[in-house]
Amino acid sequence: MKVLTVNFLTCAVKTCKTSPEAFPLHFRDAELAQQDLEFNPEFIKNMLLRLDWNAFRVTTSELGFSTIPAEKPEGDALNDETLLRDLHKVLLETQVMEGKLVCGHCAHEYAIKEGIANFLLPNHLV
């Protein structure tokens, strides 16, 4: 599960969808892996537009990244290749291989195994 993907996910429980506490989901017992991947600045720029920056800061601080800017890069900053490469590293090259994603609203835990998160809900939560 990549950091980018986590920013696009919230709790699968319908009653949590509207709750601000359900996003972002929180990592617990996360085991990280790093993988070198080809850099595509165009993709990073496009994803930046869709990224929820506050949630991204929450996630990255939970994972131990401390150098994320306080404000979402905009305008000329989007042409700063160093910045885009740093974001590429965090968003796409960093993966959580094992651990849990926890909803801050209903406390449901979603397991991550071998990098694949399972969002199927037990019957009582459907």
Binding site: L37, M47, L92, V126
Partner: protein, 505 residues
């Protein structure tokens, strides 16, 4: 704008024009289709310039190449006259280039001697450069369009009718074997309406001369052939149609594409081939992980595309964890048909009033009969409606949804599901022996273009529908599949294509 000849392959006919128009949209280019028919591989278009023509066709799967149109005619006399009129001013610039001259006789046969004679007919062009079979600078091609041996006239006027691609089957081939061979790739669907002549045709119907501008991306079909892929299943979409689907949905660099029924990742791989990043989910975690083969991601490794693999996660479309906002550039899917395995979703006990339910065909009249409440088994119509609602929420403006769906033959046809936020861009049909399926492609229109009344009515009708939904839990397609279009007992073979088309490509 200049005139070009697009040389299509003669198969998957109803997908061809849609693919070219999608690619024109992708490159934000104007394309004017001057003459197109499902019955012929030759299509005349107007495009701004060579570079644009090269870009559009260079990404297409269902074409072979695009040519600058140098002339056309019903006879060689007319063709030569037209070539002189259109191009005499250009001849000097090609005088010394190395070149190659070909003859492409669709449904016809020309031996070496005949070909040489046809090519020599163009000696007035005055090309004195070296003739080379490879590493040539320029390539001209004479195109001949013959009637097939049944004497079926190829329509020479533009045809907008949605005729249907017919994978060749043995039926109707009980003529002489030579005739059957020569007819392969012909417009089988028209045979019954046309008289058959005593003799095979002696001369072609239409002629063109073109200068090669660029080839297509058809080699990708070989590269992504399922037979050579590490991880597949019986339901993996074949490489050709997966690539076409990715083109129809405008997969491209910098974009994020999602498949909610990702399976073994056929569509995701195709989207990544065109530069998009791929995200997928599936209700079955085993398909994502694979059984020792390494799962979906191993396919991305195989093709050197792992940098465009985002993630696959386990989830159900009706309870997706994706944030309900415009995050996706494209959605591609081949939803489970629910024929062989039955549809499975997490049972939603009663989403009354909270979920939008919808019509199969977008009109209120059909609602009560075709509507199905949200419980197990999941109705096919309901699933389509869920996919459309999901797409309306998740797609960015002008983002596309390309969705495969089964539709039956003859006695029954599923309606085309609609949504006020989605514009139907194209409908393509693939016909098998006992059933057919369609590829529906939609565009997410801008919020400002959504008719507010239509949206309000839609939501109201859906709520009404949900409140009054009958207890009919049968999946219509499934029922028809077992009752309607199967004279014999079900066998698993009926869900696979009757045979690969062996048409002249």
């Amino acid at each position: 704008m200049k005139e070009y000849l697009i040389r299509f392959v003669q198969q998957h006919e109803t997908f061809r024009r849609a693919e070219i128009e999608a690619l024109a949209a992708l490159f934000e280019a104007q394309i004017e289709i001057l003459e197109y028919s499902d019955d012929t591989p030759f299509c005349l278009v107007r495009i701004q310039d060579d570079a644009t023509a090269r870009a559009i066709v260079g990404r297409s799967i269902l074409t072979k190449a695009v040519y600058e149109l140098w002339g056309r005619g019903l006879t060689y006399e007319e063709l030569h006259e037209d070539v002189r009129r259109r191009t005499s001013e250009k001849w000097a610039q090609y005088r010394n280039c190395s070149f190659r001259f070909d003859v492409d006789a669709y449904q016809g046969k020309r031996n070496q001697k005949e070909q040489r004679k046809l090519i020599e007919g163009f000696s007035y062009l005055g090309f004195s450069g070296r003739i080379q079979m490879s590493k040539f600078e320029e390539n001209w091609c004479i195109f001949e369009e013959w009637d097939n041996v049944f004497g079926i006239a190829v329509s020479s006027s533009p045809s907008l009718s949605p005729s249907v691609s017919t994978p060749s089957t043995p039926s109707g081939a009980n003529t002489s074997s030579a005739a059957a061979a020569a007819a392969s790739g012909g417009a089988v669907s028209n045979i019954k309406n046309k008289p058959r002549p005593e003799q095979p045709p002696t001369h072609p119907n239409r002629l063109f001369l073109g200068r090669l501008i660029g080839g297509s991306d058809r080699e990708a079909i070989v590269r992504y052939d399922l037979k050579k892929r590490k991880y597949i299943s019986t339901t993996s979409m074949d490489a050709e149609l997966a690539l076409v689907t990715a083109n129809l949905a405008l997969a491209a660099p910098g974009k994020l594409f999602f498949d909610p029924f990702v399976g073994t990742g056929s569509f995701s791989v195709a989207c990544s081939h065109f530069g998009a990043h791929a995200l997928g989910s599936d209700i079955d975690g085993r398909s994502i992980r694979g059984k020792g083969e390494g799962g979906i991601v191993s396919n991305f490794h195989q093709y050197g595309l792992v940098h465009r693999f985002c993630d696959s996660f386990v989830s159900d479309l009706t309870n997706t964890p994706l944030r309900p906002t415009q995050l996706l550039d494209g959605i591609i899917c081949d939803p489970p048909y629910g024929v062989r395995e039955g549809l499975k979703v997490l049972g939603s006990r009663d989403g009354k009033g909270k979920e939008v339910i919808y019509l199969a065909d977008g009109t209120a009249a059909h609602l009560s009969s075709s509507y199905i409440p949200p419980k197990r088994p999941y109705s096919f119509e309901r699933m389509q409606a869920d996919i459309l609602a999901f797409a309306a929420t998740m797609l960015v403006t002008n983002g596309r949804l390309s969705m495969w769906m089964p539709t039956a033959n003859e006695d029954f046809e599923l309606g085309v599901p609609l949504h006020p936020c989605l514009e139907l861009v194209s409908t393509c049909i693939q016909v098998f022996n006992k059933w057919s399926r369609r590829l529906l492609t939609y565009r997410r229109i801008p919020d400002s273009a959504v008719n507010p009344t239509a949206l309000t009515n839609y939501q109201r009708d859906m709520s009404t529908l949900e409140a009054h939904a009958s207890a009919n839990d049968l999946n219509m397609f499934r029922r028809k599949y077992f009752e309607g279009f199967r004279p014999t007992t079900p066998s698993t073979g009926a869900l696979t294509p009757a045979s690969e088309s062996d048409t002249t490509t």
